[in-house]
């Protein structure tokens, strides 16, 4: 038993070093660098060339090679990663995946000997001995001696030295770092360089131990082992990551010695990663909404666009009669990849997640379809079974992955893809060692010829396009986009998040399965080699290259990345050039290659059925310039969106009415002239269809609610009651527990003790969406809503609660729910005077306008009680007053109870009939505003003596 452990420790050392590099890069850039391993391999290639080609002494070439790798890594950071800041994390991951391949090719070019373990230079002067029955070579010894030194030095550097602290600071908050005199960007580059050197160290010492296997073939498998350890350390702690990798190494060797085989190891690794990620939910959580998603391009609505699409289809079909069988076969593969690419479009383009396992689902779909079609003799049954199986598998994988996002999900799907290739697909009831593929039969004629089969593939592609379009364009797609943009807000609006996500995964899985069916049946004999893990990466790459926001993106990408190498003979240089090409596209063109094409098509003459209309009556040069830009909107900015949002002429919706056609005020109110408080424009509130919930006793009741976070008592034994139609304010210093209490009341956090009751029912364990369904609705302090959706679309999403879009309805193109939602949204737009903003993206609006939109969305849910978190924050005083008046009207005209957290006391006093003061997690006063303001405990804890600070708004004191 000793031998596998010892061996495992040694291999674990390599993985550990990889993990250290990954964590270093992640901490400084919040980036998962998939190219990390390849950079190390490049360093190894350089060493090999120096030692064997240029006769440089080993111990001189070693640091030299490490420096080269450091330089390459730094170059990647400067040239690629920096340019991707502000783009969604998915783009960065895909870019590094491409870089990984590119750098690997470069390594092969550098080292003419290849990177074969047997011929690779070994460290001279290192002893070799035998431990038990295991021979320990010089490379292992070198690793065992030098690795701890390297790691210790690194750890000390980061913890103690000024530079190390600066690297960490620059990673944490780059702007703040700069304001401290720290050149944050340079520190990040330094971190990447260090990671690159570590990767080279690792690769140089591991290559001699690999026997005859060339290290470049290890690729994602090697990375995954390092990733496992890094993930176990929460991407935060270098020593823990290293130690975890030692464990991974030992575990791997032990499993191998017990006869588990490569497949078993891959499976165990995948499970390990999944569990490690589920145990710590912080990793890969929604990235704070900082990412700027490109706006999806709708399917061509103009006549010209549709004609073009039709012509393209005809041309593709016509090609079947012109080309050879081999070309047709290659084109079939292109079509198959394009179909799987559509599933990537749904998962990555709509839901914004990176799934590297879509091709594995394709493999499952193909395997099941082949078996069923073979045994029943009916191709159609087989295909349906295949799609269903793929969908089912996607849901099974999706269930535990529901809580994972971002890099956590990417890592899990990569692990799944590798486990699928190594173990799952090799199971005898799937692909086993290979099965024969029955061909589809069309009116008695079997499509054996490649040319005929190609037409079938084309038909499947059209079907997949239609399905994807239906899902994207309607309510279902909108809801998924809302979940991507701001999951919390979507849940607060009653969207059943887990169900929708699983529906999306199932739909994407079914599409992937269809692609698998197309690819699988197109061959004579299908083995696991048709569905390798690398293809999962390729299919994501091609979709991104073609354009994630475009329906035809995957087709374009497949033509370039699959069709080109399939039809034209590319040598190693050609391969490198192609990889470089798609890397450049990913980095420089966020919308892919297809986006400029789509815009060109959009400009062609033809009756436009588009919904984009220019807002009426807006004066000013800004609106004139905006009309000239494509799409009629400003491009988004990730930085100070708040500041950008307020255009020069378009004022807050509540207090001024310069937007209306003709500029005249409508509906009878005017802005405060000569000192009157800015009166609210005549906003008419929607009539309720659902009556306000009333029951015996208080509407909302919290009893003995307590919650602690890691030993800190945030809320301790709070009793709170809000009656129907009441307006209650909550005040208290920071850290008093107000927001935590809100999260408990709204369902985003579970209390440790106590109960929450609403309308007489115990809702303590209810999700936010269920509570919204009952009438308990919350708003958010930042009113971020859904930045890439328009105001109108946001209202449509809010309408989902009363008129939900089912998955099947969406897939089949039913318009029922859509019509009801549109009616509701139209009403709200009119009532709130949002007509001028209806087509604008929410992310462009100022805070005050966003709050109004949010309020409209909340009222669409017909709530009985609104939880409002600092509604005046970020809003000017004038608009704060107007908003307060609007809220008063909501309370009085619609009978909605309000529970409001506020720091602005005069504002709150106007609004609330009752106030509750909190401090240190407890309620310290409860009564009328005057009573609470003069309560001694409140004065002592909270108000203090600085009168200017207390009377923040209102007349000067």
């Amino acid at each position: 038993m000793i031998d596998p452990i010892v061996l495992g420790l040694f291999t674990g050392l390599t993985y550990g070093l990889l993990a250290v590099g990954l964590v270093l890069v992640y901490r400084s850039s919040r980036f998962l660098n998939f190219a990390h391993g390849s950079v190390g391999v490049f360093g190894a290639a350089v060493l090999s060339q120096l030692v064997t080609g240029a006769a440089v002494p080993y111990w001189v070439a070693f640091p030299l090679a490490m420096t080269v790798s450091a330089g390459v890594s730094a170059l990647i950071e400067v040239a690629v990663v920096r340019r991707l800041r502000g783009r969604p994390g998915v783009t960065g991951m895909i870019a590094t995946l491409g870089l990984s391949q590119f750098v690997l090719v470069l390594a092969l070019l550098v080292s003419s000997q290849g990177l074969n373990g047997l011929t690779f230079p070994k460290p001279p002067g290192m002893p070799s001995f035998t431990l038990g029955r295991t021979p320990v070579g010089p490379a292992f010894t070198a690793m065992a001696l030098l690795a701890p030194l390297l790691l210790g030095g690194l750890a000390l550097f980061l913890r103690r030295s000024r530079f190390g602290l600066a690297v960490r600071a620059g990673a944490d908050a780059p702007d703040t770092a700069q304001l401290n005199g720290i050149p944050a960007a340079r520190m990040t580059t330094l971190a990447w360089a260090m990671a690159g050197a570590v990767a080279a160290f690792s690769a140089i010492l591991v290559t001699p131990t690999q026997g005859a296997q060339s290290i470049d073939t290890l690729g994602p498998e090697l990375l995954l082992r390092g990733l496992a350890g890094a993930v176990a350390a929460r991407m935060a702690s270098l020593p823990v990551a290293f130690a975890a990798c030692l464990g991974v190494g030992v575990g791997e060797q032990v499993l191998l010695s017990m006869g588990a085989g490569r497949g078993g190891v891959s499976l165990a690794l995948a499970l390990f990663i999944l569990v490690a990620l589920l145990v710590q939910p912080q990793l890969g959580r929604r990235d704070g909404g900082q990412a700027r998603w490109p706006r999806a391009v709708p399917a061509p609505a103009s006549l010209a666009g549709r004609v073009l699409a039709g012509l393209a289809l005809l041309a593709a079909a016509g090609a079947a009669y012109l080309v050879t069988n081999e070309t047709a076969s290659a084109l079939t593969t292109v079509a198959g990849f394009a179909v799987v690419g559509l599933s990537v479009l749904l998962v990555t383009g709509l839901a914004g997640e990176l799934s590297l396992g879509q091709f594995a689902f394709a493999g499952i779909g193909a395997a099941v379809s082949l078996h069923v079609a073979g045994s029943t003799g009916n191709f159609f049954t087989g295909a349906v079974a295949g799609c269903a199986a793929a969908a089912g598998a996607a849901v099974l994988v999706g269930l535990p992955a529901l809580r994972l996002r971002g890099i956590a999900l990417a890592a899990t799907t990569l692990a799944f893809a590798l486990a699928a290739e190594a173990w799952l697909l090799r199971l005898p009831w799937l692909l086993g060692d290979g099965i024969s593929a029955p061909k589809p039969v069309w009116t008695g004629y079997a499509l054996v010829l490649a040319k005929d089969y190609y037409l079938f593939a084309l038909l499947m592609l059209v079907l997949a396009l239609w399905l994807a379009h239906r899902l994207r364009a309607g309510g279902f797609g909108r809801v998924v986009l809302a979940l991507r943009d701001n999951e919390d807000a979507a849940r607060a609006l009653g969207v059943p998040a887990p169900r929708r996500k699983l529906q999306l995964y199932a739909a994407a899985g079914a599409l992937a399965g269809l692609g698998g069916v197309v690819i699988g049946h197109g061959q004579t004999q299908v083995t696991v080699n048709s569905f390798p893990a690398a293809a999962g990466i390729d299919v994501v790459a091609l979709t991104v290259v073609g354009g994630l926001g475009l329906l035809g993106g995957s087709i374009l990408g497949a033509l370039l990345l699959v069709g080109l190498p399939g039809l034209v003979e590319l040598g190693i240089f050609g391969q490198a050039a192609l990889t470089l090409g798609w890397l450049l596209v990913i980095v420089t063109m966020p919308g892919g290659l297809g986006e400029p094409l789509a815009r060109l098509v959009g400009r062609l003459p033809g009756r436009q059925r588009s919904r984009v209309e220019s807002p009426g009556g807006r004066r000013g040069w800004r609106s004139r310039v905006a009309r000239l830009l494509p799409g009629g909107r400003w491009p988004l900015d990730d930085d100070d969106r708040r500041l950008r949002s307020k255009p020069a002429v378009s004022p807050e919706v509540l207090t001024r009415d310069g937007d209306l056609p003709g500029g005249a005020s409508a509906g009878g109110s005017s802005t405060g002239a000569g000192g009157g408080a800015g009166a609210v424009r005549a906003v008419r509130l929607p009539r309720r269809a659902v009556p306000v919930v009333v029951g015996a006793g208080a509407l909302l009741e919290a009893r003995g609610v307590a919650r602690a976070f890691g030993g800190v008592r945030a809320v301790g034994g709070v009793d709170l009651a809000v009656g129907a139609g009441e307006v209650v304010g909550i005040i208290g210093p920071n850290g008093a527990g107000k927001t935590t209490l809100f999260e408990i009341l709204a369902g985003f956090t579970r209390p440790d003790q106590g109960r929450v009751a609403f309308a007489g029912r115990d809702v303590t364990g209810w999700s936010p969406q269920r509570r919204a369904g009952l009438g308990l609705v919350r708003s958010f302090q930042d009113a971020r809503l859904f930045p890439t959706l328009t105001v109108r679309e946001s209202l449509l999403v809010a309408g989902e609660r009363l008129a939900p879009t089912g998955l099947l309805t969406a897939a089949l193109g039913g318009r029922g729910p859509q019509r009801r939602q549109e009616a509701l949204a139209g009403d709200l737009v009119d009532l709130f005077g949002l007509a001028a903003y209806a087509q604008r993206q929410v992310g462009e609006l100022s805070t005050g306008t966003r709050r109004t939109v949010e309020l409209a969305c909340l009222l669409a849910l017909e709530p009985s009680l609104l939880l409002l978190d600092e509604p005046s924050s970020g809003v000017s005083q004038a608009d704060g007053v107007a908003l307060a008046d609007l809220l008063t009207r909501v309370n009085q005209e619609l009978g909605v109870a309000l529970l409001v957290i506020e720091h602005d006391l005069p504002l709150l006093s106007r609004l609330a009939t009752r106030m509750v003061a909190m401090d240190s997690g407890r309620v310290i006063a409860d009564g009328t505003p005057d009573q609470v303001r003069t309560h001694p405990a409140v004065v002592a804890a909270y108000l203090g003596a600085d009168t200017a600070a207390v009377h923040r708004s209102g007349a000067p004191v």
Partner: protein
């Protein structure tokens, strides 16, 4: 006549194709405290970013103590004596002590140690939590940590943004006191403040911004004599 501690003239600034500042000019005399007020989204924070060096203006000049720093990076401006404090922006993953040490990154190490000790003496709450990560601090404590920068960097000019955002009045009172004391030692301060009342109690002059331009400039005494003017200014419009 001594040069202004800080001055900006004719600043134009854009984010991509969108212009947000239009010919903005303001000055802070030596030892003066100036307030910058205005509704949300009007460009106050952008102006501060331009002054601190985080964002390059497309036109205009920024001068620090009479020297042109328009093209100088933020990092170098720190060394020239300009400190910027943005509400509650600390390094969450680092300890309080490390945060303080990093405030002094641009200074010689020996000086830093003494400065950090002095800062901890002024803020006993921070001393209690010296080894905790900054993310564990409450909003007010984080603001103290950020303001400790002024004690360590000993700037000649201080820019303050979002001092009171999200903080309880009692905490804000304490921070205002700190600013007053700092100003008394001769530090020129520019405070961006959403609440006119807070600004009135603090500064020598208030500049009002609207839609990317400086719309008006008043002294607190004058404003207190004309409550009508204040009311209309506070409501966002201006008479």
């Amino acid at each position: 006549m001594p040069a202004d501690a800080l001055s900006a003239t004719g600043i134009d600034c854009s984010y991509g194709p969108v212009q947000v500042l239009f010919g903005v000019g303001l000055r802070v005399g030596p030892g003066e405290m100036v307030g910058l007020c205005g509704p949300n989204g009007v460009g106050k924070s952008t102006l501060l970013r331009v002054l601190s060096g985080l964002h390059r203006p497309t036109a205009g000049r920024v001068e620090l103590g009479g020297a042109d720093v328009t093209g100088v990076s933020a990092v170098r401006r720190v060394r020239l004596g300009l400190s910027t404090v943005v509400g509650q922006a600390a390094f969450g993953s680092l300890s309080v002590l490390d945060n303080l040490r990093l405030h002094g990154y641009a200074m010689p190490p020996a000086q830093v140690r003494d400065a950090v000790d002095a800062a901890l003496a002024v803020f006993p709450r921070l001393a209690q939590r010296a080894h905790q990560p900054a993310s564990a601090l409450s909003g007010g404590e984080r603001q103290m940590l950020v303001l400790a920068k002024t004690l360590i960097q000993r700037p000649r000019v201080l820019l303050v943004d979002e001092l009171s955002l999200g903080l309880a009045p009692i905490v804000v009172g304490g921070l205002l006191e700190l600013l007053r004391r700092l100003n008394a030692t001769g530090v020129a301060i520019l405070v961006v403040e959403q609440s006119v009342n807070v600004a009135l109690s603090l500064v020598d002059r208030i500049c009002f911004m609207e839609r990317g331009m400086i719309a008006a400039e008043h002294r607190p005494e004058d404003l207190r004599a004309q409550p009508e003017l204040v009311r209309s200014l506070m409501l966002g419009g201006h008479a």
